[in-house]
Amino acid sequence: MADVTLTIDNKQVTVPAGTLVVDAAKRAGLDVPVFCYHPKLEPAGMCRMCLVEIGRPMLDRATGKPVLDEAGEAKIQFMPKLETACTNPVSEGMVVKTQLTSEKARAGQKGTVEFLLTSHPLDCPVCDKGGECALQDLTMAHGPGQSRFLFDEKQRLAKQLPLGELIWLDRERCIQCARCIRFQDDIAGESVLGFEERGRMMQIVSMSEPGFDSIFSGNTTDICPVGALTTSDFRFGARPWELNAAPSICAQCPVGCNLTFNTRREAKADGQIVIKRVMPRQNEQVNEIWMCDKGRFAYHYVESEKRLTRPLMRRDGKLAKVSWKAALDLAAEKLSEHKKNSVTLVSGRLSNEDLYNLNIFAGKTEAILYTDMGGGDLTSLVGVSDGTNIGDMGKGDAILVIASDLYNEAPIWWLRIKAAAERGATLIVAGGRAAKLDRFATFTIRYAYGDEIKTIEDLGGKSKIAEAFRKAENALIFYGSDGLGLAGSTSLAAACANLLKETNHIGRRNNGLVGVWPRVNDQGAWEMGFRPTADLAEALKGKAVYIVGADPAGDDPALAKALKSAKFVVVQDISMTATAELADVILPAQPHTERAGTFTSGERRVQRFYPVVPAFGESRPDFSITAQLARQMGIILEGSSLPIVFDFIAHSLPAFDGLNYDRLAEVTEQWPMVGRGDMYYGGTTYENKDGLGAHLSSAAQRGETFKLPAAKNVKPLRPKEGELLAVPVTQLYDLGNTVASAELLAQRIGAAAISLHPETAGKLGAADGETVKISWNGSQSEVRVRTDEGLAAGVALVPRSFGIALREPMTLTVKPAKKVK
């Protein structure tokens, strides 16, 4: 866009046309106070805080040329009234006088603050926003010292009002800026908030059941300029100025949102330093300034009572506390003894450094990645390349989402892809059921579960959708495991990779394949060389097993059975799990909040996280436990310095070439500027000072030659009469080890339930909410039924991590449960 030059407070500023005056001033380092304007939202002009004097060059009506004064300068015509800097775009030759140079603007802003305070409760002492409140800050900076309004005429409204279990509302504090409503409507796409009444009675209401039913609700507390919206999690937790901040990465999903943990030392916690709240940290290429509620509220597992604090060893059938030396000695002895017959099982919960050490440790013995989703080898080949940013995608670009319910699997990707579609990108959503993203799709493809490969193959053919995808300048494919197991997702990845290659959408920025992985660092595990195995139970039977960061026994009784028949089991994890219960030796590890490291996101961005709180008990970081164990077995691994391990990775893997810890900690200036002293502008999201991370290179980007495997076209499973096709799907809030301990989320997690089309449910005589007996593959369980119009008939959705061990599509029979009298 063309640039426009204007003068703000006697300063020449050149900004792209279309920029708003308030942003132009910001870029010039001049602060115009705002309440309702937010750089991520469309301007609304509701609060009148940004009043400034604006003058435009006087134009000659006849010629359209600027009128010149005696000195030959363009004559400036000022508007008689103050204007809002947040709704006026800049124009050539414009002259703006903010409160810094204009007495009039200063008086206008002062009046606005006085007005906003007429009904404000001023309960700053008990307000969770106090200390980082825009109204406080701007009142101090621009407000009058006294008010002319009558105290007795203050408007009384509801205080302490829970909008849902997660967010509290104080209606007296609300200044009716509508930032929260506009965020929900425009950015989150979940219009659950609104205004009721008019004038001074105007108040925020939740229009959903359950209240404030959105998975992005926490963000409204960041951008609310006052303490009207606050989280239950942090309610009265501490005053903001008492908190320390540590940069980290969210470990809940493959997006890898940048965030900041706020901590403080507490008497309640026996003088320990504890996490008080989680705040987003700006990374315009990953999560912008947002994060989802799972990341914000589900972190409590790192401080759960189930945390392992000391090494344990099985003695006389019972797990007993032992020293690290005893535990490591025994584990090393047994693993060496069964060297030829041992398996290392890891998961994507671990950091890149842990996985690198583990991979060398496993050496020639079997090393398995614990996952039910395949295709990570292909994302290494044709994954997205350096500089990829969904935020840059728009008109002329295409994004294909297949077999992934992004809303549940990777919320921030959902939000950013939705935004890309709104900017004009062609969004193709292909799935076996209706998904929330459909609403924003240019094309939706509904296939029968099992026809995923065929769907992709059709996109290589001749159709309007295929054409749109092929012709797109840039194209990304997000593939997941909605309704797929390991075999299905592996094939799907191959089909997608081939489609990208054929349509020449690889090796360039904003092109390539993205896996929507179940865990934060699955991509990293694939990069380090770990692969899943088709028959995990078989691979574990009768072996000496070293399980790190995975809970197979908790997920699947068949795997528990296999582990029971293992020769020796060493489990290294952060908390007690069903797998750990079966272990001979348990080594307590630290979660990412207690140590440093790096994760590789689904977009193959490597990002650093930093220690937040001190280690729990005697737990140690995974990479050093593995190094200690290795040393006992004669393998020398780096066990104390993470940067050194990372340098090893960079030297041995071409994708990591040129990266190091310093490079990952680099920050370039981001727009909008948030998290500085001016919290009224961008909200309370933290500024990123600790690294934006860096992309791994893909083989396609490096120009390597490679051959892509052809997709295996398996015959789709079609259930017989009286059976249903059961497919595994992911729910955002589940009963997995990293979510279940968040008490606040209990209501949203709910109980295990299979979803059926109402007609299918009707035929089976099961109404919504009723309990039924299901049996599949020799297993049985009782679950509730939920009906969902968006499903195909004859399909049953089985949520993962809810205690129903369905790891692949399978046929399933449903019977009404015996009525309990």
Binding site: V126, Q146, Q160
Partner: protein, 184 residues
């Protein structure tokens, strides 16, 4: 030199001594049997005050801790309910500690408090044989309840104690009305 002279000198000295002993006011105090009264603005050991109805004035806002130059105060807050109410409004101090070894008795905490809950009293007997004892918890600081039925926490009538900070009425000198000066 006569023999009398030293005796006279001795007598003179005694006269002065007796004058001092018998006619001058006594300034020493027989502490600890006798305790000296303190001046009205004396700043001694803190007290956490209560309202007349027994509810605690402290609302756990931590402003005293923020004002304290020697970081002597530590506050943790929690939520009141009508079933279990400590103070008016939504918030109360679930932990309130002052480290008397750190305190310099400057009174900044008093100034910062929005509810006049923390007040420096007239007790100056602060000695400990153990560093930990120097940390005074809320139980030690809190004023005794006026009567037995006024203990906290207690059950209160619903929707009565909704505000944490007592309502600020217009100050006296404003009441004359039109003479209020507002700088614009």
């Amino acid at each position: 030199m006569s023999l009398l002279e030293p005796i006279i000198e001795l007598g003179r000295g005694l006269v002065i001594t007796m004058k001092q002993a018998l006619f001058n006011p006594v300034v020493t105090v027989q502490y600890p049997e006798v305790k000296r009264e303190v001046r009205p603005r004396f700043r001694g050991r803190h007290v956490l005050k209560r309202y007349e109805n027994g509810l605690e004035k402290c609302i756990g806002c931590s402003l005293c801790a923020a004002a304290c130059p020697s970081d002597a105060i530590f506050v943790e807050a929690a939520e009141n309910t009508d079933e279990k109410r400590f103070s008016p409004g939504e918030r109360y101090a679930s932990t309130y500690e002052i480290n008397m070894m750190r305190c310099i008795f400057c009174g900044f905490c008093e100034d910062a408090c929005p509810t006049e809950a923390i007040v420096l009293g007239d007790n100056y007997e602060l000695s400990f044989t153990n560093r930990r004892d120097a940390i005074y918890p809320k139980e030690m600081l809190l004023e005794p309840v006026p009567s037995a039925d006024m203990t906290t926490p207690r059950k209160t009538e619903a929707n009565v104690f909704t505000r944490s900070v007592p309502e600020m009425k217009n100050p006296k000198d404003w009441e004359s009305g039109d003479t209020v000066k507002v700088d614009t």
